[in-house]
Symmetry: C2
Subunit: 117 residues, 2 copies
Amino acid sequence: MIEIKNYKDMEPFVPEERPWISKRVVIGKAHGNPSFAMRIFELQPGHTSKSHRHWWEHGVYVISGSGAVKAEDGTELPLSKGDVVYIPQEEHHQVCNTGSEVLSFICVIPGNAEELD
Amino acid sequence: MIEIKNYKDMEPFVPEERPWISKRVVIGKAHGNPSFAMRIFELQPGHTSKSHRHWWEHGVYVISGSGAVKAEDGTELPLSKGDVVYIPQEEHHQVCNTGSEVLSFICVIPGNAEELD
C-alpha cells in the first residue's frame, strides 16, 4: 500500500551523547525490506556529525541550511540547499553545520547497511 | 571522491512526448554502481506522470509544490512539501500536480531497476 507522511510529524530520534543531531528513518525496515533506507537528519548550528567511514555509500540531499562536508584530508566542501552529495563506499566524511540555521538533509543508504534503525 | 553539486546546475532531461516533466539523475550510473539511484523530477501544474507499475519500489520526498499520488483504485493521496512517500514493488501509481506551482520531488529507486538513466 502506498504510504504518505510528512517527516515533521514523525518523532525524531535524538542520541543522548549527541543531542545536537536528530534522525528520522522515513523509509526503512518498517516498510518490509526495501533495498534502500531514507533518513532525514537535522543538525544544529555549530555542530557536526561523527567523522567516520563505512562500507556503504551515501546519497545526500540538502533540504535547508548550509554547512560543509569534511573529507579525510581536511578539505571542507561547502553545502547548501538543493545540493546533492555522493559519498562513495569507504570514503571518510563528516557533515558540519557552519551556518546559523538548522541544517536539514536527507541521507539514503543501501538496505543492507548496518545502520538501518 | 566526495562529489557535491546543486541539482539546479544540471541540465534536465525532458522527454519529447511528455514535455511537462523533467528528470535529473543526480546519483546513478555516473557514480560507478551505487546500490540506489536518486532522481529529481519537476512536474508542471495540471500535469501527471505516467500511470504505471514495476517490480521496484520508490522512495519519494517532496521538495516543493503540491499534488497527489493516484493509486490503482483511483484514490488520490494528497502530497505537499516535506512529505515522504513509499511506493512498494508492483504498486500502481501516478503523480499528479494539482497545485499552481511546479511540483519538485526526489525519487529513489534500487540500483538494479531498469530505469537508471
